[in-house]
Structure formats: C-alpha cells, structure tokens
C-alpha cells in the first residue's frame, strides 16, 4: 500500500522496519529515546526533531540514549559495527561532526582498506544538513562535499520521502559506513511512500524531470528548487531536465553524461559553499568526459563562500533558489 507521508516519517518508518528485521541493529543518539528515566513520560523527544520518536517504545533497549559526547558514541558505533552489531548513530546536525570527525575520517573510513579488506563496518551516521530554518552559522551547514571527499565513506542525500525510505534501508543493509544527510528543510514535505520495506540501490541518480534543452544536476534540498525553476522556465519555452543525484558517493555520472549528451547544456547546483563542492565536481567530470557534446559553458549555482547568517533576510539571500537556477539556465542558452 502507498500512502502520502512526510520525508521525516519515511525515515522513521525505514528505521522501524529495519529494527524489526534485524534483531542486532542498534540506534544511538542524543535523546533518541527521549526522556528515558527522566521522571515523566518516556519517548517524548526522538532526537531533536523527533525522527526516532516511538522507536524506543517498539524496540526497547536497542534504542540507546547517548550523552552529548559525539566522539565517544560515534566512535563506539564504529567499534560495535566492526564487532558485528550494525548501528545507526545520529549526529543531530552535520555542524557537530567536528566533534567526532576523527572517528569517521581516520577510523571508520580507513579500516577496510588499511586492514587489507577484512573489516566490515555496517554503520549509518544520520545527520541533518542545510539552511532555511534560521539555525544560524552552527546549525545550518551543507557539508556533504567534505564527506564525499573521503575514500571509504558513502554519502547519501535524499530529496523525497520515497527516496529517503529506500535509501535509508539500503544504507542500513550496506556493509560499509554511510553518511546519511537529511535535508531538514524538507522534513515536512510529503509524497507517496510504499508501506512495505524496499531498498534503493546506491549510485543510481533519479531523473526527476525530462527536458531537451538544459540538464540541471543537483541533489537534496536543491531538487525542489530546481523543479520549480524547471516549471517556470517551461512557461518561457525552455525545457530542462532535472537530475537528482541521490547518492554523492557513489556517484552516477553515467546518467549525468547521458543527459548532457542529449541537451548539450549543463547547470550544476549545490547548496554547499562554492569551492570544491558537488557542482564543481560535476562540471569537471562532464567537461572532461563529454566536452564535445557541450554547446555552452557549464554554469554552477551554490551558496556564497560565507557562513550561514542568522538574519532571516540574509539567510534567504544566502540560500541559492529557483531564481539563481533560472538565471544560470538562461546563461547556458545565450
């Protein structure tokens, strides 16, 4: 059966179904079980925005509240995964990754390679990314590209409830460490999601819209903005194709190349800062691999090279939106 549910609920459902499937799966995080032993009601929080609410009630002590000590519990998740207990660990905001970065960067990501391919680390680190909720400089960053840079990590960032569920299930079943980036700005957006569990393989981009003139390649919170731009451009006679990468590592470059070979024009968009992000990566790969298909210079859309400002007016100006994508598309057409 398919229902319309929010992206946030789709993640909860994926976690719930996988907890039921795998009796060894553990969930760690701050307030994931929300208020256990606090004297009042239990399971009132479920992480800071409530994604794991209800899981403690259904799965009991496999949903474990950790102190706010990311280095210890994320590292413990790596170690438990290495020792045969798959873990989904939550680092509430990707901005807090600095606190536990070593355990991911130099430990989880490297072990399989360093140990001659013997290690399996069935670990998912769930974390919220992106601006748009007035979270200011330390609760709003889009650090996806930083993790994509690191060999040994897979990086996922869904844009729809359907993809969020299928990619989360795939991430949990994957035998290596996955950084699962949740665009909090899209938590409440709803869409059709099948109730039965399903997995979406990594490395398969989604063609979110077909078009003949320009390829817009993006992911996560930028997808709805790209689709809005596409709708508005269509009114002016410009037909754009929108490709949702869904996973940044592995990267489905084949789908991107095929699209650019058809349209001959590329706009790559990322909410991250403009240097060394997914947009620069896509443009570099496309120009390297299908230069002769290009009819115009590829264009990039991203946030400015500044921290995320608090002022709602400045934050709005900071976040790249449909307008910037439309302007970039127009540049490729002129």
């Amino acid at each position: 059966m398919t229902r319309h549910i929010s992206l946030k609920s789709a993640i909860t459902e994926a976690l719930d179904q996988e907890m039921a499937r795998d009796p060894k799966l553990l969930i760690f995080g701050q307030d994931t079980a929300g208020g256990v032993d606090a004297g009042g009601e239990t399971d009132t929080w479920g992480g800071v925005l409530g994604v794991t609410r209800g899981l403690y009630t259904r799965h009991g002590d496999r949903v474990i509240d950790a102190p706010p000590t990311e280095m210890a519990y994320v590292g413990a998740a790596v170690g438990a995964a290495l020792s045969g207990f798959p873990v989904v660990a939550e680092v509430p905001f990707i901005d807090f990754m600095g606190v536990c970065f070593d355990q991911l960067l130099s430990q989880a990501a490297k072990m399989r390679y360093m140990f001659g391919g013997t290690a399996e680390i069935p670990l998912v680190v769930r974390t919220m990314v992106g601006a748009g909720i007035n979270g200011a400089a330390q609760h709003s960053q889009m650090l996806t590209a930083m993790f994509t840079h690191i060999p040994g990590l897979k990086v996922v960032c869904p844009s729809t409830p359907h993809d969020a569920k299928g990619l989360m299930i795939e991430a949990i079943r994957d035998r290596g460490p996955v950084i699962f980036c949740e665009p909090k700005y899209l938590y409440e957006t709803t869409g059709p999601v099948a109730e039965a569990p399903y997995a979406i393989p990594f490395g398969q981009a989604h063609l979110a819209r077909e078009g003949r003139d320009v390829s817009i390649v993006t992911y996560g919170p930028m997808v709805p903005r790209a689709l809005e731009a596409a709708t508005r451009l269509a009114e002016t006679g410009i037909e754009t194709e929108v490709i949702d990468l869904r996973t940044l590592s592995p990267l489905d470059i084949a789908t991107v190349l095929k699209s650019v070979q058809k349209t001959g024009r590329l706009v790559a968009a990322d909410e991250a800062h403009p240097r060394c992000n997914m947009a620069t990566d896509i443009v570099a790969r496309v120009t390297g691999q299908c230069f002769t298909s290009l009819k115009s210079a590829p264009q990039m859309v991203s946030a400015p090279h500044t921290p995320v400002p608090f002022s709602p007016v400045l934050e709005k100006a900071y976040i790249p939106g449909a307008e910037q994508i439309m302007a970039a598309v127009t540049r490729t057409m002129s």
Binding site: P67, P68, V99, N134, S311, V313
Partner: protein
C-alpha cells in the same frame, strides 16, 4: 562549603545584582511570549531559573576578565554587561544587533565586555577559555577566565581535555557546571558517570566547590573565593551550581519527560529571584523600582528591535577573510 549572612556585600552590589538577575528574567519571559506569538526567529534557549548563577559569578568579573558561554547564553551576556537593546536586536536578526544580526541568539558575543560568545557547539567554549586564560596568565595582570557549561555538555571531550590542559598549564580558569538536571530530555544521571562534578575536578587535580545555585549568596561567595584564588595564581577551579531550568530546553519543548508538577514546583518553590528578594535586605520599594525599570527596558528593547531595519543584503559577504 556553607555560606550564610550577607553583611559583607555592599548595598550597591546587591542592587546591581538584583537588577541584572531581574533583567535576565524579564528578557527571557518576554522572549518566551514573543516566541509563542511567532515573532522570534530561530532556536532560543532561555536562561530563566538560573539567574543567580550567571550574576553571582559575573559580579566578581571586570570587562578584562573573559567568559565563554553556551547555547543558553542570554543570562551570561546580561550578567557580563552586554547591552540589552543590542542583544534583543540580535535575537531578532536586525541592524544594530550586537553581531549585526548575523549571529542570533546562539552566537551573541561582545569582545569589548569580555564575552567570548554564546556557542552552538557543546563544549566548544572550554578550549577557547583555556586560551583566554593563558593570555591572562602571560599578561600577569591578574585577569581570569570563566567557562560555563551544562550538566550534559561538560561531558564533551573538549571540556575534559580542557580541564586537563588548564591544570597542567595552571591557568586562571574557572569551569562552571550549571547542573539543571537535564540535557534536552535526558536526565543528569544518564549523561554523567558521577553525581557530583567535584569528583571530575578532583581527577584533574583541581579544587572544586558545589553550591546551591538558587542561592545567590552561596554562588556569590563561593565564586568570590575561587576567583580570588585564581587571581593570586592558584590555577584552575571548578564550581558546580545546582540549579533549575524554568522553560523547555528550547522554545517549543513541551517538557513531558519531566515529572508531573516539576515545572510548576520550580516556578513556585525554587525561584532564585524570589529567594533573593526575601533574603537580600533590600526594601520592597527598592526592588519594585528596579522591577519597573527593567520592564521598561525590556519593553523598549523589543519595540526598538521590531522597528530596526533588517541588515542590508551586501552585509552577507562581510566578515570572511576571502569571499566569493
């Protein structure tokens, strides 16, 4: 340590302490209302209930002494003398905000007042405060640093490493643990391996004191002794203040995880301000005069903030060394 009596505290000190505590309370109560009304953007963590801690400690500090604060930073700012009008504008993200509207509630800083910033990252203030304390030590003028942390946040590795560093380097740094019983919805005993943070300090070779954080006089005296010790070159110390959080973790938190009646009991029975008013020896007329001033100040700050223009769009790019 047991502290009773108050005859050693001057009338001026008492009045100004009351003014600061009351300003914090009125500021936070107003934000609570305005957040409910939907006019305050962002995440707001209110300090109401804990006023005696910030003010009891900061009453001993000058602008040259530096503090590092937390996500729950408004109280520390006001206690350290940061301008209330500019704070309110900051929380509304407006021009004239103490950080030009770019920081918001969780990043209020005023370096001219020795306020190194509220912080959105738990534990992050402790290493910074070590650096500030090192600067104080090298300058040799007797200035000190204070870092605030909550019962949950002080378990971060950054804090534990800083305790060790401060001890090894013998820094004039006070670690304040504001133990309000909760880290978000998680009770203290589920985040911390010991019930008293004095035990932590002992492990790092630091003297420590625990006080009733609802008793301004207890906080004031203990902090006074510890700060004097630091100014004289005694090295780092820890002060745990047992206190209470009046509002939710952040605005919007329903607090259903707290025992039934706990919040009501806090407001009615565990109010540090009412306790101060009862025991300070200040006259009702003196207290009421302060209350009136403070209400007017907070009211004016909101009116000014809502009137203030939003930052100009070109400010987006200011303040980074390299921008594109």
């Amino acid at each position: 340590m047991n502290h009773t009596g108050k005859t050693d505290i001057s009338h001026d000190t008492l009045l100004s302490a009351y003014r600061r505590m009351k300003t914090i309370r009125a500021f936070e109560n107003r934000l609570h209302e305005d957040f409910k009304a939907g006019i305050v953007p962002g995440f707001t963590h209110l300090y109401a209930g804990q006023e005696a801690v910030a003010v009891g400690i900061c009453s001993h500090l000058t602008d040259q002494d530096q503090i590092a604060s937390t996500h729950r930073g408004h109280g520390h700012c006001i206690a350290k003398g940061v301008d209330v009008m500019a704070m309110m504008k900051e929380i509304h993200g407006r021009q004239g905000g103490i950080c030009k509207g770019k920081g918001g509630s969780m990043h209020i800083a005023d370096l001219s007042k020795g306020m190194l910033g509220a912080n959105g990252i738990l534990g992050a203030g402790a290493p910074l405060a070590c650096g500030a304390a090192l600067a104080d030590k090298l300058e040799g003028k007797g200035h000190v640093a204070v870092v605030f942390g909550g019962d949950g946040g002080v378990n971060e590795g950054a804090v534990l490493e800083s305790m060790n560093l401060a001890s090894v380097w013998k820094l004039p740094l006070m670690f304040v643990v504001e133990n309000n019983g909760y880290a978000q919805s998680t009770p203290q005993h589920r985040t911390t391996s010991v019930s008293s943070y004095e035990d932590r300090a002992r492990g790092f070779g630091m003297p420590a004191v625990t006080v009733d954080g609802l008793d301004f006089f207890a906080v004031y005296r203990a902090a006074g002794e510890l700060i004097a010790r630091m100014r004289a070159g005694g090295g780092p110390v820890l002060l745990e203040c047992r206190t209470v959080r009046f509002y939710g973790h952040f605005e919007g938190d329903t607090q259903r995880y707290r025992p039934a009646g706990d919040v009501k009991n806090a407001w009615e029975e565990r109010d540090c301000l009412r306790r101060f008013a009862r025991t300070s020896g200040l006259s009702p007329a003196e207290l009421e005069a302060v209350d009136r001033d403070v209400e007017q100040l907070v009211d004016a700050s909101v009116q000014e903030a809502l009137k203030a223009p939003h930052p100009a769009l070109n400010e987006l790019h200011d303040g980074v060394y390299v921008s594109y």
